[in-house]
Each structure stands twice: as C-alpha cells, then as structure tokens.
C-alpha cells in the first residue's frame, strides 16, 4: 500500500523539481495576492480595534478610520465588569451553547451521512432528496410552529432547543457535506473489511471516521462559530437575560435610536478572540488530514 501523504507537499516538491526559477515569479505574485487579500480581510478587525480604543465622544467627532488620539482600555474594562452585561456569565453560556451542539453535530452528522454515502437501503435516493428539501423552505415561516413545538415541550427559556436538534443529525447542511466527503473516499478498504467480516459499524468507526478528519474539523468550526455567534436563537428561545449569549449581550449596547459603538466594539473584539483561537487550532486538521490509510 503506497502511503497517501500530504498532497501539497508532494505537489510542491514535484514543482520544485521542475524548476525553481520558473516558480520564483509565481511565488512573488502569490505572496502579493495573498497579502492584498489579507489586508482587505483585516479591515473589519482594524475597525473593531480602533473603535474599541476610542471614547464615545471621539468616535462621534473623528473620522472612522483614524487611530485614536489617546487610546484607552476603559471600554474593555466597562464591558468586562458591567453587572448588567454580566460578561463572564455570558461567556460561560456562549461556550456551552457552542460546544455541546458542536459535539452533537460532529457525532451525529457523520452517523447519518454514512448510510447515505455507503449503504444500500430502501428509499435512499428519495430520502436524500427529502434531506436536501429540508434546507429549501425559508426559516421565516417555520419559526412560529417551531417555537410552538418547543413551548409545548416546555423548552422555552432552556438550552434544549439548541442542544437536542444538534444531536438529531445536526441539520441537512452538515449531513450533506459529510456525505460528499465520504463519497470521495475510495471504497476498496471498506469492501475488503466487509469481506473480512467487519460490521457496518466497524467500517464506519474504524475505516471511514479516521479519514474524515478534515471534514469533521470543517463542520466543527462551522457549528462552533455558528453557535458562538447565534443571535436570533437565544433571543427567541431564551427569556432570562442572564441565560443569553454574548452575541445577544453585545446587542444590548444598541437600541432603536443609538448604539454605544465604543463598548460594542470592545465586546466584539473580546468575543472574537476565543473563536479565532479555536480556528487556529482546528485549521491544522483541514490541511494535515490523516490520510495514511487506503489509496490505490
């Protein structure tokens, strides 16, 4: 069995063999493009940081892009210590509301995706269309009936509406994504394992799951970030302000007529930090996926 090692490394090595000089110009443009794109992506971060370091008065009286004349960390202090905002409590809520559903999504979306990708069963293709169709009806019109169901179950003002659905396959988007990735894995290995008498569960757990690192990392990031930044869910299903998450908490700095930009941006910077860290940690898995099994 030839090792299936990291694509790009060999790709790069192969290219390198073909001529360093040809690649010098390519590399140069590569870095320029990458750098300019990165600058564009950093604009909102810059803006958040700049506004978080200004006083309300300075934001109101100076240009949006200008660096604060007297940078101050007061906004951070206010946001972190304000008893109404209750930052620590809300951070704990937020971590709970993003971690537990992520766990559910990762576990169950792979489970559900597996038969769609690998097994023959009655009604598979049409059930798959049903799966896709659950994404097609806009949530605006199912919101009220959903709320009514959760209310009848007594789940309003609890975390159940966020956790339970995540353990029911985690939504069509994730199931579909994992299915696509499972389908891209050659099936010689699991065929062989089946012939050796392995059960479907063993094939799933021992052969396919280890190859799913990148896609599972992808859906973890999506669902973690989604949970972290969810606004409408907590706002709708939770009543007690102390049960809500940071995204809703930040919105308390805004009302119909005015916005405390200085505080809101300080909060936004603090909120962004943990997800950025999670992302940096997870991103190793998108690109260093475990690809040591299988292959031709």
């Amino acid at each position: 069995v030839s090792g299936r090692i990291q694509t790009d490394a060999t790709h790069y090595a192969a290219s390198a063999r073909r001529g360093i000089y040809l690649h010098w110009a390519g590399d140069f443009t590569f870095w320029i493009v990458l750098f300019l794109g990165a600058l564009l992506c950093l604009v909102p971060l810059y803006e958040m940081v700049v506004m978080s370091l200004k006083t309300a008065e300075e934001i109101s009286n100076t240009d949006l892009w200008s660096w604060p004349t007297h940078p101050t960390f007061d906004n951070y202090r206010t946001v972190l210590t304000d008893p109404e905002l209750n930052f620590i409590r809300k951070m704990a809520n937020t971590l709970f509301l993003s971690t537990l559903p992520t766990l559910g999504v990762v576990l169950t979306s792979a489970l559900v995706a597996y038969p769609f990708a690998r097994l023959r069963f009655v009604g598979r293709d049409r059930l798959f269309l049903v799966l896709l169709s659950t994404m097609m009806l806009p949530a605006v019109v199912t919101m009220i009936p959903n709320y009514v169901i959760f209310a009848k179950l007594g789940w309003i003002n609890t975390y159940w509406p966020f956790v339970v659905p995540a353990f029911f396959g985690g939504g069509a988007f994730n199931i579909f994504l994992v299915r696509q990735f499972l389908l891209a894995i050659p099936n010689e290995m699991d065929e062989a394992a089946r012939i050796d008498g392995a059960t479907h569960a063993t094939v799933f757990w021992r052969i396919l799951m280890p190859n799913c690192g990148p896609v599972l990392a992808t859906i973890s990031v999506f669902s973690f970030v989604g949970g972290f930044k969810d606004f409408f869910g907590p706002l709708l299903y939770l009543n007690d302000p102390d049960k809500m998450n940071l995204e809703v908490g930040l919105r308390t700095l805004q009302n119909a007529h005015k916005t405390d930009w200085h505080l809101m941006m300080a909060g936004a910077v603090v909120v962004m930090a943990p997800i950025l860290i999670i992302f940096v940690v997870c991103q190793r898995y998108f690109v260093k996926g475990i690809m040591l099994t299988g292959g031709k």
Binding site: E84, R124, R126, V141, T142, P165, K258
Partner: protein, 795 residues
C-alpha cells in the same frame, strides 16, 4: 360591623396572598433599559413583598418574539407597547382593558395628569388598554448655535413657519429661508460643505411635513378607505421636500449621509456639517454625553396655512395581556413602573420625557435642575417639550393597510433620492394603490379555517410523502438476500437520529403549507383563503412584487454564486501550499466570517460611502474628481449621476454589485470546505500526472477538479439555496430599497410575515420559493451525473 367586615376582608386578602405571585414582563434588550427596569422592579418588590417581577428580554416593542409567544400561549403578563404599533395588538383582543381598575385617577396611574393625546393614542373603541410611560415628539430641531451665528440667522423662537416656497420677506420666520441661509458652498461647487437640515431618518421629515400641514393622505387613520395621494397639496409638499434635497441641497440626500445606520447624521451635526437635525427626546442625553458644542432645541415649524399643526411622535407604555392569571398584581406593577416611582429615575437619567405632565415640567426631573452645571444644563429650551408633546399625533394604521403604507413610503423615499420625479411617482401610486386598497378591504371576511379537514390533509401529505419514497421501491422489490436485509437494517439504525429530528422539521413545514391556504396574522385563528394567496402573488394588480423581487434575487444569485465559488476555490488552492506563514493567512481570510456582523456591516457601509468611502477614494481620487484612469466619472455617467461620486448603496444600478462584493468577503467558509476537500486527493494521482508530463493547468483540470467535484457539487447546491434565500445584510443595510432593488425574496417574505402580519401570504411566498429551489436542485442533481466524480461510488 362594617369596620369588622372591612378588616376581615383586608386580613383575608393579606393572608390569602402570602403565596408569592410572579409577574412575567417582557422588555427591551437594551442594557440601559434593562438596568433601569430591574432597579425599578427591585424597589417595587421591596414595597410589594408578595409580588415577584420576572424580567424577560426581547428586542424592542413589536418584535416577532411577542408574536411567537402569543402563538404558543406562553406570553408574559405585561408587555411594553409603542403607540404606533398599538393598533396591531388592540385590534386582536389580546390586551386587557384597563378601565376596569378603580384607581385610574389615583396618584400613581394619574390618568388626568398625563398628556391627553398619549392616553388617547392608547385607547381603542373608547377603552384604554395601555398606561403610557414616556412620550416623545420626534420633531425636535436640534440646532448648532455657532452655525446660526456665523450665518447671521437669529435663533428660532418658535414663531417660524414653513410653506412650499422660500418667503424672503419673512426672514428667520420662514423655515425655508433659514435653511437657505444655513447652506454653505465653496465658490464654484454645487455640493455644499455645510447642509442646513437633516432628519434622523428620511421618512421622519416627510412625516413632520404631512403632520404639521395636516394634509391628509387618506380619509381615516384607523380605517382608511380612500386615498388622496395625488391631491395638489400632497404634490406641492412632496415637491418641496424633493427640492430641498435635490435642487437647493439644503438637506443632504438620504443616500449621502444615512450610511452609519442612523447614528452618523447626529455625528455630522456635531462635526458642524449640518446646522439642524431633527430627532426625538432620546437625543438629548446623547448630545449632552458626546458633545460640548453650543446647541439648543426648537420645535419643528408650523405650516403657514394650517390651523391645527400636529407633530410625529413616539413613546412607550405597558399593557397587561388578557391571559394574565394575576391581573391585579400586574396592574400594581404597571402603575408603579409608569407612575412616579418609575418615571422619575427614567427622566433623571435623561432617557425620556415622562407622560405625567407635572413631572415633565418640574426642573430637576426631566428638565435640567436649577443648579445643574456644564452639559447637564443643556439644552436651554428643553421646556418646549411640554408644548410639542401636546401636539403629537400617532398614526394607528390597521394591518390591512401596512403594505399600502409601505408602498407609499417607498415611493416617497425614491422621490427624495431623485430616482423618480414627483409627478411620475404620484401618478404611479394613484394608479396602483387604490385598487390594492379595495382588494385589501374586500378580504376582510373569509370563512373559518376548516381545522379538521386541514389536519386530515396534513396527515395525507405526510403519508403521500412516505408513499412517494417507498412505493416505487416496493414495486421494484425489497432486499431479498440476508446480506442486503442486514445492510438495510443497519442503514436505518444509523439514520435514527435524523428520522427523530425529521418529525421536528417536517411538521412545521407541513403546517406552513397548510397555513399558506389561509389568512393568518399569527395571533388570531387563521381564516380560509384557499389558493387565494398564490393567486394574489401572481397577480400584478394585487401585488407586483413577485416578479420584481425574483428578478433581483436571480440577478444577485447569478453574480454571487459563480464569483463566490471561484474565489473560494482560488483561495483554497493558494492557501493549500505548505509554506511557512500560510497558516496565519488561513486565519486572516476567515476573519470576516468570524467578526461581529454589526462591525462588518458598519465597515461595508463606510467602504461604500459616497464621500468618505475607500472605494470611491480609489475611483475618484482623494480630491473626489478623477482618480484612477478616470474610472469614477465614467461609472458616474453610466449610473446616471454625472458629476457626482457614485452612491453605491443608494443607486438601484450599483447596489446589487455592492452586495455581491460584500458576499465575497465571506468566501472564507467556502475556502475551508475546499481546503478540506483538497486533503482527500491522493498524492499518487498528482505524481502520476506529473510523470505523464501534465502542466499545472492540465493537472488542475484533469486531476484536481474531478476529485474536488463532490465538494463543488455541495457548494453549488448550498450556494443556490443560500443566494436565493439571501436575507440578513439586505434587511439590515438597505431593507429593500432603493427602488426595490434589494427587495430580495426573503426580505419580502419577512416583511409580509412580521411587518404586515400576513403569515398566510408569507407562507405561500415561501412555498413558491421552495418549488423554485427544488427545481434548480433537481436540475443539478440530474446534471451532476455527468460531472461529479465519486471515488467511493454510490452503488
């Protein structure tokens, strides 16, 4: 005996209520509001030990949370109500009339001591449903005294009036003359560097003009049956408003300056770029807080030819829900919160004007204390708020009129932006709207919704779905061998979580399908409409939005899907290189998807800003004239505003490309998917291709692309769904305008569902979209057989 009786009653009352009663209240989410609310609740609880106040948070008044709660029967005991939305609730019989309480004129409720118009605006068919808390005229003019002095214009003393032309002879007693004097230009330039006047939001100016002139646009606010949209007076007023913005440029164009989501007009005022700004009483606190300039307030001028001159206004009040189990205790809280106990701290914090007149007029509460110093003494003439509050009129439109009113506001907005001349706009309105009004009035009586038959149909639909899935299979033959049976069984075992969840998903879907056959305002029982909603959607005479909205949505999708996928794929290929430092770039490219949505919208609005935006700075250069390769002036001519920078989000031609560009910023999500997919490409394939002498492009086309095709297929399917359901940014940034160019399908559905409260119609629209998406998905699934390559093929 009588004394004993009373005593025993009192004791009985006291003893029986030892059990603590919980009153659930829903209030706005804003931190200042919550802080005040909780503090007042704590003081109330100390005074009423038998009552506990549970403070729940929603967004603001009239949000869909209240509707959802009412629909589910879990509504709170007490809710906050805004006078402009009051009719929506009062009309549906869900609020408790307050006139049954004996102490309406006691020291707390003090109905006689409150602004009579506020009390009146919370009454419906002669009964009071809401106790007013704060009142606010929204037509205060905040003016910069320094700019008045520089222009040699005396400060407004309340005697000014307005007419639809400049009356030079009246000088400072004519509003138009004042605006003309306060508009300053550099020699040779048509655009002023100092504007005279702006309203907090563009519709507010028109409201002030129509309210103060008392020109009626329809016969009866509470039950409009006739429209007078092209009366000469209406025409003149609209022309005056349009000229002020377009011809004389006293007023910055709505698309020039309203970019900062409402806050920037005040900022421009404080920077001295606008001499007068019109807003409500909440602005007082902010002005004190953010500015040490010399400013004061005046009332919006009266109309020269009107005897009664109203002003637009806002406010809040508390209502008790009819379903409340403890109306007496709820009333105690309502009185407390809207009485002196709640109003004094609110007014002293500078939040808003109390609805009890004596409190609004006493220095040290809402008016600055006699010994106040510095900014706290501002503004000098805050006392005019008593007189202006008396002139406030609230518009209480019935639900059936919401969409017509929305159309009227939209067309007026287009006039102010210069998209349509007044004559064209008004004749368009007068041509279309009376017919719509007639239809809206005709719809009022529809039969009861056949509940049991509908349930039967719902069950039949679910069974039909099952039949559609399994009948062909049964006909084809179920698995026969032991192996096949075992495989089938384990497949369904794996599917258990999804099938459990499916009930929760499919149930609401079928419900909304059945609701699409009804008239439903969410709160009341739906009425039967049959296929009427679908017929309406497809008849331009009733609603011509479907085709406009679909066209814009498809245009957006056609631009954003290919661009979005290619940028994401390109980025993934770039970021897949194992070069040192690339990991950092991966994180950076994902930042726009992580950053706070509010920050992102703000930055985008500023990037696209007409005057200070980065994009126009590149196109027109820093001096705002030519810029790179004369690109700007060329573009300006193309979009129909020669000689002016492009207003990206204010021009119907450029707003879609602007949204597409915004969407590209979020390409990081797609990039991650492709990056993950690239990991699955076996290195041996690429090596083999290299050995065969394939170049980079050849390798990409023949090896990488086929192996990425599963991920590409995923991106296409979800991309189509996402683009056709595009919603949040359009809703937040442009809310459908200009000229309906960003009235994406979902924005429209949302407006129908939660702003017009036509859930039946919205459901029908949603199902139309469902069919459209289904069609495109099936097309792609069919087409996928030709190009999607699965290594582990479906057997």
């Amino acid at each position: 005996l009588a004394v004993a009786c009373v005593l025993s009653c009192l004791c009985g009352g006291a003893f029986s209520s030892t059990e603590r009663v919980t009153i659930r209240t829903l209030t706005g989410l804003n931190a200042d509001n919550l802080r005040l609310y909780k503090r007042t609740a704590a003081e109330f609880e100390a005074a009423h030990p038998n009552i506990h106040i549970e403070v729940d948070a929603g967004v603001d008044m009239n949000d869909n949370k209240v509707l959802a709660m009412v629909a589910a029967g879990v509504e709170p005991d007490v809710v906050g109500i805004d006078p402009n939305y009051f009719a929506t609730y009062a009309d549906k019989n869900i609020l408790l009339p307050l006139d049954s309480f004996p102490d309406l004129n006691g020291s707390e409720a003090n109905l006689k001591g409150r602004y009579a118009n506020a009390v009146a605006s919370y009454s419906w068919h002669g009964r009071l449903y809401v106790l007013p808390r704060d009142v606010s005229c929204t037509a205060y003019i905040f003016y910069n005294k320094k700019l008045f002095r520089e222009a040699g214009v005396p400060y407004p003393d309340g005697t000014w009036t307005w007419d639809t032309h400049v009356r030079k002879e009246l000088r400072e007693r004519d509003f138009a003359w004042v605006m003309d004097q306060l508009t300053k230009r550099h020699a040779g330039e048509s655009r002023p560097y100092q504007y005279a006047f702006a309203a907090s939001w563009p519709e507010l100016y028109l409201d002030a003009l129509f309210f103060s002139s008392n020109v009626r646009l329809w016969d009866d606010d509470e039950h409009p049956t006739k429209l007078y949209l092209d009366k000469p007076e209406v025409r003149q007023i609209l022309q005056f408003a349009a000229d002020g913005a377009r011809k004389y440029r006293w007023i910055p164009n709505a698309d020039d300056i309203n970019m900062g989501a409402g806050s920037s007009i005040q900022d421009e005022f404080r920077k001295g770029h606008i001499a007068m700004v019109m807003s409500g009483s909440w602005e007082v606190k902010d002005m004190r807080h953010k500015w040490d300039g010399d400013w004061d307030i005046a009332a919006f001028p009266r109309y020269a030819h009107a005897e009664t001159s109203y002003l637009p206004g806002e406010g809040t009040g508390l209502a008790i829900m009819r379903t409340s189990k403890h109306p007496k205790e709820a009333w105690e809280w309502v009185k407390w919160y809207c009485g002196p106990h709640g109003l004094i701290p609110m007014a002293q914090a500078g939040e808003s004007q109390p609805s009890i007149r004596s409190l609004a007029r006493e220095p040290g509460i809402w008016l600055p204390a006699k010994d106040a110093v510095g900014r706290e003494r501002m503004p000098e003439h805050l006392s005019i708020c008593d007189e202006t509050a008396l002139r406030v009129k609230n518009r209480r439109l019935p639900d059936y009129f919401n969409s017509i009113y929305g159309d009227i506001e939209g067309v007026y907005g287009d006039v102010l932006r210069g998209i349509r001349p007044v004559d064209v706009a008004l004749s368009k309105l007068q041509r279309e709207e009376p017919g719509r009004l007639k239809l809206a009035l005709a719809h009022v009586d529809s039969p009861r919704y056949p509940f049991w038959p509908a349930t039967a149909v719902g069950v039949a639909l679910a069974l039909g779905l099952l039949a559609w899935i399994y009948l062909p299979e049964i006909r084809k033959g179920l698995p026969k061998t032991r192996m096949a049976k075992a495989e089938n069984r384990s497949a369904y075992l794996f599917l258990i979580p999804w099938i459990c969840g499916l009930a929760m998903t499919v149930g609401p879907m079928i419900y909304s399908l059945l609701l699409s056959l009804s008239d439903s305002n969410i709160i009341q029982t739906p009425r039967w409409r049959g296929l009427g909603n679908y017929v309406d959607a497809f008849s331009p005479a009733v609603d011509d939005t479907l085709f406009v909205s679909l066209r814009q949505t498809f245009l957006y999708a056609a631009m954003s899907i290919p661009l979005g996928i290619s940028v994401a794929l390109g980025l993934a290929l770039l970021l897949n290189r194992p070069i040192k430092g690339v990991a950092l770039y991966r994180a950076i490219y994902y930042i726009p998807s992580l950053a706070s949505a509010v920050a992102i919208s703000l930055v985008w609005m500023k990037l696209f800003d007409k005057d200070h935006g980065l994009i126009n700075a590149i196109l027109y250069g820093i001096d705002g004239r030519n810029g790179l390769f004369h690109l700007g002036p060329l573009l300006s001519r193309w979009v129909g505003t020669p000689g002016e920078p492009i207003s990206w989000l204010g021009n119907p031609k450029t707003v879609l490309p602007a949204f597409v560009m915004m969407g590209l910023w979020g390409a990081g999500g797609g990039t991650i998917i492709f990056l993950a997919a690239l990991q699955g490409i076996p290195a041996s394939y690429l090596e083999a291709a290299t050995l065969d002498g394939a170049g980079a492009i050849r390798k990409f086309r023949s090896v990488i692309l086929p192996l990425l095709s599963p991920a590409l297929f995923f991106s296409l399917i979800t991309g189509v769904i996402g683009a056709l359901q595009f919603f949040s940014q359009a809703f937040v940034i442009t809310s459908g305008g200009p000229d309906r160019a960003t009235l994406f399908y979902m924005v429209w559905v949302y407006q129908k569902a939660f702003q017009d409260l036509k859930m039946g119609y919205a459901s029908a629209l949603a199902w139309i979209l469902f069919v459209i998406i289904l069609f495109f998905t099936l097309l792609q699934v069919k087409w996928a057989k030709n190009w999607v390559h699965y290594e582990g093929e479906l057997r």
